[in-house]
Amino acid sequence: MKRILILVCLCAAMVFSASTIYANPEAYHVGCAFAVTGKASWLGEPERNTVEMIAKQINDNGGINGHPLVLHIEDTQGDNTRAVNAVKKLIKKDKVCAIIGTSRSGTSMAAIPVATQSEIPMISCASAAVITTPVEQRKWIFKVGPDDSDAARNIFEHMNAHDINKIGILTGTTGFGAAGREQLKEIAGEYGIEIIADETYNPTDTDMTAQLISIRKTGAQAVINWSIVPAQSIVSQNMQQLKLTIPLYQSHGFANIKYAEAAGDSAEGCIFPAGRIMAVDTLSDDHPQKAPLTEYKKAYESTYNEHVSTFGGHAYDALWILVNALKKVGDDPAKLRDELENTTFVGVGGIFEYSEKDHCGLDKDDFALLTVKDGKFVVLKD
């Protein structure tokens, strides 16, 4: 009996102390919902790391106009149900003024109704176009992930320049891969390119030989591998094994140096569109993004001792865009939303120009075509 009493007291003390710590009326509360663990943790982890780093930086420098920035970070585990709960918790319990996240397109779509209904602005780090379109239904939703169609356009332009017009596509069966597959099929015609093989693989797949042989049989001139999961690095290895020498294009989901490392020398020479963060060193000094990119890369890599990735960059952009808006209008969600629509921001992912009609803000020029050379990402020159 005594033990139970002590336990009750302890719990009460915990509740009390926790509530006093968070009761800081001056602070700006921002919610973050990332897939820190679970099947999409390679997205969520760098995102979480990035926002924690920036928040510390901001608070060390006196906060936002004197207001400390308090981040509430929730783990969605890449799971839709958890994402809905997380976003609801941020809005209803932590009373945040805006939400950054979620990491995946699927979790973003699940969370959108919650944010919309509560009229809290949400900046998604995922890239599917449906997140911000149609814009009338997505009044409160913004995203920093680039549109898949813009990435596809970059690839197709490069193909046009090299007289490639019959291609095979190979996509992962995740939200990212499926959205890419849709876009590729939709806009290939605009560039006079014919998709003659359409194959998919599971994120848990271990071997894409069969799919590549099917593509080889059709006589495709190039392969586009569109995926975000680690399994994609197996594709280039399988191609090397099969001695399949046609050009390999990858999506912007490949923009993680770990994937190139995993693929080893088989990844050499593959071409993919990506934000310029991946090849800062080879960027010319007069490029407007050079400064923020260098700064972010340096800060991230020195803090966490691991390579910077595009996904962390999304979180960087989202948080700074939000912080800039907070600086101007304070933490009223409605004002924040209006301010976000007028934002222009030079960030890691590109130059964001949000407007009433465009809640994505990036266009195809924010991608650069990169390639892998000596195990490093470099800007493709040809």
Partner: protein, 301 residues
């Protein structure tokens, strides 16, 4: 492309890839069977053994730069200890074991192993160098990786060792006796609790070997266990639970079915094809291809 095109080369290539996939399923299924024979349960943490084996091997070879052979032995030993620990801590203490309860316990263990692997090894995908290079070899026009040959060879070695162990050693014979009739074996003076522990040790060891040989090809991350476990379970059931040689054949068959299905029917429905066939086999032969219905009746749920 050049002369390597052609239906025959494709078939051959699918066959090679199928056997490679299937070899892993076969080894997972053998692990399932060993524990099934000793306890009558399916160990849902079997896939996690494979993951642990792979990750451990990555660390030893890539971070500590140990030689492959040495790291191999160390990893298998590590997993055997892990298997014994699992049995001593979670299976042995259970006083009134019902099948479902033990299964849920193994599910819990699999979650714990997954969580621990995530904390220790992080969430990223880990890769390691192939045993002997990545330059693929020509085999009647089809391409085959040296690692694939390693996988075939090691599967063969494991199967031979398995047969020798269970047919020619006293311990192996005792384990078989326990599998056939536990009460009778106990009356004959066999320590059945020890046999259960041994079965966990061995099946963890086999899991480790599977993980080690496949990691260079598929890379390893903490969350792979569930899928490997599912496929291995499919192979074990297809072969007839408790029948390890049946499991080997069924595992390889399942791998070939998947590769052929992906190549000739549809990569979108690749996994479904193999599963549909599996279900049909079960519906026609309720105790698997090589299972006997008599043996099944002995070990009901």
């Amino acid at each position: 492309m050049n002369h390597t095109d052609g239906a025959f080369v494709d078939v051959l290539q699918f066959l090679i890839m199928g056997i490679q996939r299937g070899s892993i399923y076969a080894m997972v299924a053998m692990g399932f069977n060993m524990i099934y024979n000793a306890t009558g349960i399916i160990n849902f943490a079997q896939g996690e053994f494979v993951v642990l084996g792979g990750l451990m091997m990555v660390t030893l070879t890539m971070a500590y730069n140990l030689s492959i052979v040495f790291a191999f032995i160390l990893t298998v030993l590590f997993l055997i200890i892990a298997g014994i620990l699992m049995e001593r801590l979670t299976i042995n203490p259970v006083k009134q074991p019902t099948v479902l309860r033990l299964i849920i316990i193994t599910i819990a263990v699999s979650i714990i192993i997954k969580g621990a692997a995530m904390v220790f090894w992080g969430k990223g995908s880990h890769y390691m160098r192939h045993f002997s290079g990545t330059e693929s070899l020509d085999f009647y026009g089809a391409r085959i990786l040296p690692q694939t040959l390693w996988i075939f060879a090691i599967l063969f070695f494991v199967v031979v060792a398995y047969i020798l162990f269970f047919n020619y050693t006293m311990t192996g014979k005792c384990m078989r006796a326990c599998a056939i009739n536990r009460d009778a074996a106990r009356l004959a003076g066999i320590n059945d609790r020890k046999m259960v522990m041994l079965s966990f040790a061995l099946s963890a060891g086999i899991g480790a070997i599977a993980g080690i040989i496949i990691t260079p090809i598929i890379q390893m991350d903490y969350a792979r266990g569930a899928m490997l476990g599912l496929k291995g379970f499919g192979a074990a059931v297809l072969g007839g639970l408790g029948n390890s040689m049946g499991a080997v054949v069924a595992g390889v068959l399942l791998g070939i079915l998947e590769a052929m299905g992906a190549g000739y029917i549809s990569s979108h429905y690749m996994d479904a094809i193999a599963l549909v066939i599996l279900l049909f086999v079960l519906f026609i032969r309720p105790s698997g291809i090589f299972g006997s219905s008599e043996a099944m009746r002995l070990k009901e749920f």
